[in-house]
C-alpha cells in the first residue's frame, strides 16, 4: 500500500478495502472504526505498520474463511433450483397442454389410478411407510419454512446482531429440508396419485414451493456474492416475497386434503 496520509486522505485505506470487494457487516464497522481512529490521531510509525499489516491479514484470512461464494454450496443450490424448475414444468404442462380428447384425459387418469393400485402403493398405504414418510415430509417442510422464515426475519431486521455471513451456513439446511420433502413427497404421491394429480390445490402448492425455492436461491446468490452485497431494499423485498410464498405454500399444502373433489384436468 502507498504512503498513508493522516487526515482526510486516510479515507483511502477504507476505500481500498471496500474496492477490493470486501463486504461484511461486522467487518464494515471495524473498518469504519479503524479509519476514524487513523483520521483523528497521529499514529507512531510502528502503530501505522501494525495497522497496515493487520488490514492485509484481514483480507487473506477472510478469503480463507470462505466469505466468498463456495462452489460446493452453490452446486446444491443449483440442483435445488433445477428441481424447482422441474416442478414448475410439471404444473405448466398440466396447465397449458390439456388432454386433446376425452380418451387422453381418461388415459391420464387411468395412469394415476394404476400407480396407486400397484402393490408398491398398497404396501405404502397399509404399513408404517406412509406415516413414516409423512413425518419426514413434515420435518422437511419445517426445516424449509422454519429456517426460511428465520432468514427472512433477519433480512427484515429481526435479530440484527446476527451477521449476514452467518446466514450463509443456514441455506444448505434449507436445501436438505427441501429434498427431504421432495423425496418423501414422491412416496406420498404414489400412495394417492389420483387424489393429488387431479387436485388443483396440489398443483398450486407445487408452484408456490418452487417459487419459494427460486427466491431463496436468489437471496443466497445476491447476499453472498464475492464482489459485494445486495442493496438493503432489494434484500427486504426478496425477504417479504419469500415469507409470503412459504406461508402460502403451507396454506395450499394443508388445503390439498380438503380439495379432493376439485378436478384439474
Amino acid at each position: 500500500m502507498a504512503v498513508m496520509k493522516i487526515g482526510p486522505g486516510s479515507r483511502g485505506e477504507g476505500q481500498q478495502l471496500r474496492s477490493a470487494g470486501f463486504r461484511h457487516e461486522s467487518i464494515e464497522s471495524r473498518i469504519d472504526e479503524a479509519t476514524r481512529l487513523l483520521m483523528t490521531r497521529e499514529p507512531s510509525p510502528e502503530a501505522r505498520r501494525a495497522v497496515l499489516a493487520a488490514i492485509a491479514r484481514l483480507q487473506t484470512s477472510a478469503a480463507a474463511a470462505g466469505f466468498e461464494v463456495q462452489r460446493g454450496s452453490s452446486r446444491l443450490t443449483a440442483i435445488s433450483m433445477s428441481m424447482a424448475m422441474v416442478l414448475l414444468g410439471f404444473v405448466a404442462f398440466r396447465l397449458f397442454v390439456p388432454p386433446a380428447t376425452a380418451a387422453q384425459a381418461y388415459a391420464g387418469e387411468a395412469l394415476l389410478i394404476q400407480l396407486s393400485g400397484s402393490s408398491l402403493a398398497f404396501w405404502i398405504n397399509t404399513t408404517f411407510v406412509y406415516p413414516g414418510f409423512l413425518f419426514i415430509h413434515t420435518l422437511g417442510l419445517a426445516l424449509v419454512v422454519g429456517i426460511g422464515l428465520a432468514v427472512d426475519l433477519r433480512l427484515l431486521g429481526v435479530a440484527a446482531r446476527v451477521p449476514l455471513a452467518a446466514l450463509r451456513a443456514l441455506i444448505p439446511a434449507i436445501w436438505v429440508g427441501f429434498w427431504m420433502s421432495v423425496l418423501s413427497g414422491v412416496v406420498l404421491f404414489t400412495a394417492d396419485a389420483p387424489g393429488k394429480g387431479e387436485n388443483a390445490l396440489f398443483s398450486i402448492k407445487l408452484v408456490l414451493v418452487a417459487s419459494g425455492v427460486i427466491v431463496t436461491g436468489l437471496i443466497e446468490r445476491h447476499l453472498f456474492r464475492a464482489d459485494g452485497g445486495m442493496s438493503p431494499s432489494r434484500s427486504r423485498t426478496l425477504a417479504i416475497i419469500s415469507l409470503l410464498l412459504w406461508i402460502a405454500a403451507i396454506v395450499a399444502g394443508r388445503l390439498v386434503g380438503y380439495a379432493v373433489d376439485g378436478a384439474f384436468v
Binding site: 409423512l134 422464515l149 428465520a150 429481526v158 440484527a160 446482531r161 451477521p163
Partner: protein, 161 residues
Amino acid sequence: MNAVAVWLGGTQLSWFVTHHPWVWPTCEVLHFIGMSLLLGCIGLVDARLLGIWAAPPVVGVNALIGWGFVGFLMNVVTGLLFFVGDPLQYVTNPGFQLKMLFLVLAGWNVFMFYATGVATQVESLEEHEQAPVSAKVIAGTSLFLWIGILFLGRMLPYLRP
C-alpha cells in the same frame, strides 16, 4: 378427565368449531405456520448452543426466541380450539397424551434454561465460541422434544384407539 371432555364437547365454542367448515382448516394452517416458526427459530437457537451453527454471537440469536414464542402461542390457541372442537378424540388418544407430556417436559426444559442461570451464561458467547455442556444438554433436549412433538402430532390419526 373424560367428564371434562364430555362437558367441553357440549359448549358453544365446540359447536362453533365444528359447525363452521372454515374453522378447522384455518386452525390447521395456523397450527402449521406456528409450528414452522417455533421449530425454525428455537431450532436455530438450539443449533447455535449445540455448536452445529457456530457463526453468530448468542445474544444476536436470542432475538429469535421471541418469534419462536409467537409460533408457540399460535399453536397453543389453535391447539385449544382443536381440543374444544372434539375433546373425546384427543383425550382417549395415547399419542396425544404423550404429546402433551412432551410439551410439559419442553416447558420444564425452558424453565431450567432460565432458572439455572445458563441463559445468562451463554448470552456473552461471541461468534464461534462453544457453549458450556449444560447449555448443550438443554439445547439437545429441546431439539429432541420439539421434533418429538411434531412426530406425535403427525401420528395422532394413526394412534387413535
